[in-house]
């Protein structure tokens, strides 16, 4: 059977502030699920919960039937659940190639297999010329793509991308659509956080909208685009 990533009843509080309030989410293989919402809605925090960087007050995370709520982040990666960071966070003193190699090694890949995978991903994400550049010297847009490549090195079953297209211009963003398709074609489920609505509406199978930690709406891109509350609270001119 195909495994599904499920989160149920997730609540996160910081002191008196409830940042995520009883949110459920389901992500299937080969599916692109958009997670959108105003700034500070709790999207990144939710990804932190899924990836194990944030312990929720309540809630369970499952892959298939296995409860992974108690596992550490690196363990979840080895179970096929990877993420990128909103602030990218490459290993600054390592070259792009070494960044990717490290991710491959962490999954126990052989040097040979890792190198082959690096070549594939570099071509996919337009990183070829940058492989021998130290990560700290990368321009912002390239840094983001390298971050995605590093996450993909793990050969994940589910990938959570936190604003992957930030810092890309319109043309690049369109090229990026094909990258997403390629990833999806590998059978990988994608959780996509993005403020670029062009991308979200073109790419996603489903969209879930968070506001103030609660699910405001969920449905197909078209339903969301026309959802009155979403238009007002979030989309503004992008709704056009």
């Amino acid at each position: 059977m195909t495994h599904i990533l499920t989160a149920t009843g997730v609540t996160v509080r910081f002191g008196g502030l409830t940042v995520i309030d009883d949110v459920d989410l389901e992500l299937r293989p080969s599916e692109i699920l958009g997670l959108i919402g105003p700034n500070g809605a709790g999207k990144t925090t939710f990804v932190n919960v899924l990836s194990g960087f944030q312990k929720p007050q309540t809630g369970t995370i499952r892959i298939g039937d296995t409860d992974i709520s108690a596992t550490l982040p690196d363990e979840r990666v080895r179970r096929g659940l990877v993420r990128t960071f909103q602030a990218v966070r490459l290993f600054p003193a390592l070259t792009v190639a070494e960044n990717l190699l490290a991710a491959g090694f962490a999954m126990g890949q052989s040097r040979r297999a890792a190198k082959a995978e690096i070549a594939t991903l570099a071509a996919l994400l337009d990183l070829d010329g940058w492989l021998n550049t130290e990560a700290r010297a990368l321009p912002y847009g390239v840094e983001r793509r390298a971050g995605i490549a590093r996450a993909m090195m793990a050969g994940p079953a589910f990938i959570m991308l936190d604003e992957p297209a930030a810092g890309m211009n319109h043309e690049e963003a369109m090229a990026f659509l094909s990258v997403m398709d390629a990833i999806r074609a590998r059978g990988c489920g994608i959780l996509l956080i993005e403020h670029n609505m062009d991308i979200v509406f073109r790419l996603c199978d489903r969209v879930q909208v968070l506001r103030s930690g609660k699910v405001l709406a969920a449905g197909t891109p078209d339903e969301i685009r026309n959802h009155a509350l979403v238009r007002e609270a979030y989309l503004g001119s992008a709704a056009a």
Binding site: F14, G37, P38, N39, G40, A41, K43, T44, T45, Q86, A87, D126, G129, W130, T133, A137, P139, Y140, G141, V142, D162, E163, A166, G167, M168, N169, H170, E171, E172, H195, M197, A233, Y234, L235, G236, S237, A238, A239
Partner: protein
């Protein structure tokens, strides 16, 4: 008439990498100038060079005709130059409010004046008001971006440099930011705007430069540039690292 900002023949290198190559641009007082170019074109490097945190290898940065060589970054802030860096760099261990206050470091303000200025920022970004006592490091990505912009505005700069201000912002907030940029422009602030979303930038700018590989390749008003279609061709090219000085 001397332009407000004049960049003459500026080169910037990082070790063996040349990020800017004898580049010249200018901006008149009150003008809004956009810088457009693919990843690695050197846009951020240019803003950092103007702010004084990366050294020039050659050329000069002039503000109202005066060469800024030897002026420390903090002194340039005193001259009215303010930067919103693309890495945001909010002070994580300071509260939101303190981050705003520190933006006004170079202005001799009373507490009341400072509070009034901060309130204007809160009006622009209501989200920050809700989080004014939060440690900035705990803010969400977009909230940090708002804070970085707000902090720069607190300096009441004569020359505002924005490096991808819409990065990570929700569409409604991006609208608000661009509305604010338009207001500042109308008030006479000179603005240097780096933006990936060319159409968005063109909606507010008077003039734009197209940059590639550390050089200006085209210059003109928004209309002429988009009419010529050169924007697409530049932006769609594959990005590659800047040329090394040595083989």
């Amino acid at each position: 008439m001397t332009p407000h900002l004049q960049i003459e023949d500026v080169s910037v290198t990082y070790g063996a990498v040349r990020a800017l190559n004898r580049l010249s641009i200018h901006a008149a007082k009150g003008e809004t100038v956009a810088l457009i170019g693919p990843n690695g074109a050197g846009k951020s490097s240019l803003l950092l060079a103007i702010a004084g945190v990366v050294p020039l290898r050659s050329g000069a940065v002039r503000l109202e005709g005066r060469d800024l060589a030897g002026q420390e970054p903090e002194q340039r802030v005193g001259l009215g130059i303010s930067l919103v860096p693309e890495t945001r760099d909010v002070f994580k261990k300071l509260s939101t409010h303190e981050n705003l206050l520190i933006g006004a470091s170079r202005r001799r303000l009373t507490r009341a004046q400072m509070q009034a200025d901060a309130d204007r920022i809160y009006a622009l970004f209501p989200r920050l008001a809700e989080r004014h006592n939060h440690m900035a490091g705990f803010l969400s990505g977009g909230e940090q971006q708002m804070l970085a912009i707000g902090r720069a505005l607190m300096a009441e700069p004569g020359l505002l440099m924005l490096d991808e201000p819409s990065l990570g912002l929700a569409p409604v907030v991006t609208d608000a930011v661009y509305a604010a940029i338009a207001t500042l422009r109308d008030q006479g602030t000179t603005i240097l705007l780096v933006e990936q979303n060319a159409a968005r930038a063109f909606s507010v700018c008077d003039r734009a430069y197209l940059m590639q590989a550390g050089q200006v390749i085209e210059e003109g008003s928004a209309e002429t540039l988009s009419a010529r279609g050169s924007v697409e061709s530049v932006l769609f090219g594959r990005s590659a690292p800047a040329k090394e000085l040595r083989p």
